[in-house]
Amino acid sequence: MIHHDMIVVGGGLSGLRAAIEAKMAGIDVAILSQVHPGRSHSGAAQGGINAALGNHPDGHDDSWEKHAFDTTKGGDYLVDQDGAVQMAKDAIEVIYEMDHWGCPFSRFEDGRITQRPFGGAGFPRTCYGADKTGHYLLHTLVEQAYKRQVKLYVEQYVARLIVHEGVCQGVVAYDMIRGGFETFTANAVVIATGGAGRIYNNSTNAIINVGAGMSMAYYAGVPLKDMEFIQFHPTGLYTTHILMTEGARGEGGYLVNGLGERYMERYAPKFMELAPRDITARSGQTEIDEGRGINGQGYVHLDLRHLGAETIIERLPGIRDLAIHFEGVDPIEEPIPVSPCQHYTMGGIDTDVDGRTIMPGLYAAGECACVSVHGANRLGGNSLLETIVFGRRAGAEAVRYLADLQEKRPNARSAFAALQAVEDEIQALADSTGGEDAYAIRTEMTDIMKDHYFLFRDEPTMQAGLDKLMVLRERARKIGLRHTGSVFNLDMIRTYELPGMLDVALAVAAGALARTESRGSHYRTDYTTRDDENWLKHTLAYYQPGVAGPRLDSKPVTLGTFEPQERKY
């Protein structure tokens, strides 16, 4: 048994920032991460991070109020406005802090941080470092974590929360390098494990983004919120689904169909390519579905050629490298084949603006959490921002909780019970004779999610998808291990994580089927308009042990000064 005052699960931007906050307050904090923190998926973010700095010549009239408004409108008013306001206010401070910590943002001639236009934003407010902003921010926080000697447990796969009488007291983890399971007790646990994109077969996400932290909290009785809201990015590379940043359009890139038209004119004449992602992704898919893809095929073109070699090399070098390596296309010479892809999980573990869940001692931050600042559709540049703002807030709140806590000794009996439960699960998988193949089920699940819960949804399609997922969930009770070695056992991790992925997928499916309206990313061809009277509320999904699919409930949206109105771009 290893003890720290505070455990952070996940070493991406949210987890690092939460841990750094705690460390600065003198707390004994450790990060457990499945990969070295510098390899986290935060590093794949490209385009930038929003803050109303007003550095851009066209941004002098920008303000955090306008940032909060754009965020709320972009989220189709499902945003909790206290969260959006808090994020927009904190944004300015955290950007300067990241600069003071060494983040290599690109610079204007006057030495200030550069900003570029992004989708759904009234001003150019997206701060960036070329098209590698996530990589730069991530490495900056990794450096700060080393500087401050945050304890890092690297390549630890966290399997379960330790819960004692309804209070979170640590985690059970598999040591991938040395083998074996260990209990890590703590009085506060922050989950920062990222999104669940890999429940889809066409995700831009890293391979480890399977929603593990979400399912872990869900199994412990914490609800998942608004899971039906999945963001589809308009521009993933056609064959590999690797992200082509919105920044490419922020720099002036065009979206073009098979007829050579800039088709966004039909859908968002004012904002054009910089309409919010839900609208831009649906527009692209409509072009494809109506036969106006390139050569009638399932993709459109992201055309950067008119920007010129200098701009592309200077501001979009990463995009160019990815297009060359993975699609064999140099954007200086040719347009890039792109199609809409799963990109982001707006929903997640239900938290407030300080990362609190309903379980004492348990916090969540970043993509795995749902504050909700993104509502029904996240604006580009707000996810990197969310990770740092809410990682910091969750860390600070956990510190306050620890300061007030009377009983600081985690219960050893509960810790051992959790360890035994995990070892029993692994043993059952090792002994399984059920004959079901975890990898085949995973493939079927990701196909179902793409085929039944993509950009355009309707009741018959979603009901059929839910029925199939229910069957898969039952079949998943009969999966088993192929390999039982103790060291770096990928088979064990990938088999063990599958039921959690299915339960997260079921929460997405059930929420989507129940919500009889169209809002943000959730677009239904049988209910094409937003229904504020009945659906201006969050969906809550609760895990039901032994039953496939969640129990659904709801809670009100925290409104504020921005009255819900029709979204036009």
Partner: protein, 241 residues
């Protein structure tokens, strides 16, 4: 090409039966733009669940899947089989590093050296209310070193590392360069003694394997040479930078 032969160097030092390094061969169906990482997953899912390898982003930014493929350092995810110009693909763990299992090597020393070099911005001045101003020209000096993904290819490829365990190696020194060259950094004597010595820059003999090995096409040697000159400047003229 309808299928490829994937050869993987397998070894499980803890196992009674697989403790010796050996090659195993698998036939993988070929699809357009198949990557080596996808081929490894194909083996793990269809032939042998016991195969171990690192992965994460599959978009050449996280640095997890650095391996030795057909005689060259590469990221498995970034390696399009079609560009190898052969239907026989051989994958080995990065050489000269202690093995954990199969394609997974120990990176503890690598990150210990990274930490040792003090890879963070050092300031003495109070922070301004806004950003620390930096000209685009000064920012441009960071373009190369900040793209490092800490994959370890350069470190594994460096003969000076092979010969001397205490040598910090190209990646850590590139990181030192990244901060020493940053106009915002105000370190004077803190970092310098850690790299301006025989464990540091003077152990580099400009063999330049690191330049060839880097999958991000960075140039650690250039950074190391800059540091050597900076050390002399500081000794001769006492200039901090």
């Amino acid at each position: 090409m309808s299928e490829i032969t994937l050869r993987i160097k397998r070894q499980d030092p803890q196992s009674k039966t697989d403790a010796e390094a050996h090659w195993e061969e698998y036939k993988i169906p070929y699809e357009e733009n198949l990557t080596v990482l996808e081929a490894l997953f194909y083996v793990q899912e269809n032939f042998d669940g016991s195969l171990s390898f690192r992965y994460c982003c599959r978009a050449s930014i996280c640095g997890s899947c650095a391996t030795y493929i057909n005689g060259a350092y590469r990221l498995a995810c970034q390696t399009n089989v079609k560009h190898l110009d052969t239907d026989i693909v051989s994958v080995e763990p990065m050489p000269h590093l202690p093995l954990v299992k199969d394609l997974v090597v120990e990176m503890d020393d690598f990150f210990a050296k990274y930490e040792y070099i003090m890879p963070w911005l050092m300031r003495n001045s109070p922070d301004p209310d806004k950003e620390i101003a930096q000209s685009p020209q000064d920012r441009k000096k960071l373009d190369m070193p900040v793209d490092c993904i800490l994959c370890g290819c350069c470190y594994s490829s460096c003969p000076s590392v092979w010969g001397e365990d205490n040598y910090l190696g190209p990646a850590a020194l590139l990181k030192a360069y990244r901060f020493e060259v940053d106009s915002r950094d105000e370190a004077r004597k803190e970092r310098l003694p850690r790299w301006a010595n025989e464990r540091g820059v003077y152990r580099c003999h400009t063999i330049m394997n690191c330049v060839e090995a880097c999958p991000k096409e960075l140039n650690p040697t250039e950074g190391i040479q800059w540091l050597k000159k900076a050390a002399v400047r500081r000794k001769l003229f006492g200039r901090p930078k």
